[in-house]
Amino acid sequence: MGQYYLVYLELRNGAIAKSSIDVWNRFQELAACIDDRMYGFAAGPAAEGAFDVLQGNGTIYHAAGSRSGSASDVAVCAMLEELACRHGVTGIALASTAMGRRLAPLLSGRLRAALLSGCREFGGPDEACSRFIHSGSVIASYMPASAITVFLQGRELVSPDFCAAERPQIEVFDAAPYLDAGIDVLFRPVMHSSQGRDIAEASVIVAGGRGMGSPEAFGLLEELAALFGGSVGASRSAVDEGWRPHGEQIGQTGKRVAPDLYIACGISGALQHLAGIAAARIVVAVNSDPDAPIFGAADYGIVGDVRIVLPELIAAVRDLLTKK
């Protein structure tokens, strides 16, 4: 029997989130067998041609009438459940965004479906998934044992390259019956502030710690991150000093990140911090203390004062970027 997959496609400002496209592509690759089927679901207003970025076979249901994003997780869950039941779906996949991280366990609880998250390798909803536990000191593998599996895909998995000539079919989904479901409490957005990229989604992160010395010194990190198209992160001590917002904190009590490149500047490398970067691919450390534990977790290091090394590194990277 074939696998039927349903991918939740998150709309942000009318466009499908990049991380949702990655999930769609991964499941298109998995759904290579003739009996496999692909479905997608998106809720909220979509810009003209928003779905053109999706390749491959399948049907995408679009509930344009429902309010987007934070409107109501319960309503989105109910619509995903309806589609999962209608088509006999065996795997529901979501990107690990703030919303995905709320929806996936909610769905799992309602459908009694196994939840796989943080997987480093993934062969399909009926295969074992391995992930870090205990602050990155152990890798455990789990086998799902339920009719439906809910899969939350984070940056621990490398984005697949998927190309196909076909385009999915778009169908309108009527959200009206789900919007005023009995238990659907009203989440009224009151305020929406600031912006910037979530570090959990960044492919390059330049992070600073107490060794940066001042909040102003983070300007150097902004500059370096911009060269890579990356984001700025911070250690707990830098956040506790009030130099950076909590949303940028990396580590045990902050975010766990999985960038391709992580540059730690003036971060000593406490266990709590290392727990947050276990899934990072290449780690670079800049620190004035040659015995700082961060060097033990780094691929490359420079011993030196960040205020001297960083301007040099910015210049060197800029040179390479502009070289013909």
Binding site: S70, V74, P105, I139, S194, F228, L271
Partner: protein, 252 residues
């Protein structure tokens, strides 16, 4: 307001988790209240202090004794505690099932107004139990939240999204998970610890929780130790990053 806080204990970050004979060896660890759960307990006690007539009940689903953990929450100001002894707690689903079963049983007439949990446990880091519990109880979930302000009828909270801080309103009942930054948990002194001894802890034995949905296949220890190559200057480092494909190709 009737508040339930779900808490658990985790190995202290300083203690080293080892793998012995293909299993995680938890015998030599020291255990503490999951730090995110401390934010949840603290917030519940603050709400109680704010809204007269409120009651804070703490629950833990555990395979072994959870009384020390519960006493700590009682010392912080919770009113009563339930130790849910389960024969098996292998995945988030089983934990959420045991908690939802106990909540439904204790609150048969009407669900509690607010169920507070920590964002995630430090050990398994799935961040799944809070929302799963909401799904099982058939009520809404929000989290992780960095601020809560509640009245008797409505609750406002803030949470982080990809595009910044979102401020929202919701009606009860609701499951909320606590993020760092929500509050600074209080320290407890001898007096609070003594008072906590007089508060009731009830044990409920769950002999047959629903089967787990994830089967553990195996564990392997990981060494975070890498072989660091020291560059003599920034230029050499940039070259190494270019070699590894970390620097986008130069523009024409």
């Amino acid at each position: 307001m009737r508040i339930v806080v779900c808490i658990c204990q985790v190995p202290d970050i300083a203690s080293v988790v080892t793998v012995v004979d293909g299993r995680i060896d938890l015998s030599r660890l020291s255990w503490v209240m999951n730090p995110y759960d401390e934010y949840a307990v603290e917030e519940a006690v603050r709400l109680k202090e704010l809204l007269p007539g409120s009651e804070v009940t703490v629950m833990t689903a555990t395979e072994e004794s959870g009384r020390d953990l519960l006493r700590k929450a009682l010392a912080m100001g919770a009113d009563r505690a339930f130790e849910l002894l389960s024969s098996s707690l292998e995945d988030s689903f089983q934990i959420a099932s045991v908690l939802s079963g106990a909540i439904r049983e204790r609150y048969a007439d009407a669900l509690p107004d607010l169920v507070l949990c920590g964002r995630e446990s430090f050990d398994h880091q799935n961040a799944a139990v809070p929302a799963m519990l909401a799904g099982m109880l058939g009520i809404a979930f929000t989290g992780p939240v960095t601020a809560i302000s509640a009245s008797g009828e409505i609750v406002e909270f803030e949470r982080e999204t990809e595009s910044g801080i979102e401020c929202l309103q919701a009606a009860y009942p609701l499951v909320v998970s606590a993020e760092k930054g929500l509050n600074i948990p209080r320290k407890t002194g001898i007096r609070q610890v003594m008072e906590a001894r007089k508060k009731p802890i009830e044990t409920i034995s769950v002999s047959q929780p629903p089967a787990s949905l994830l089967r553990l296949q195996g564990v392997v220890p990981v060494s975070a130790e890498k072989n660091c190559r020291f560059a003599i200057n920034a230029r050499e480092l940039a070259g190494l990053l270019l070699r590894d494909g970390c620097i986008p190709k130069g523009e024409e």
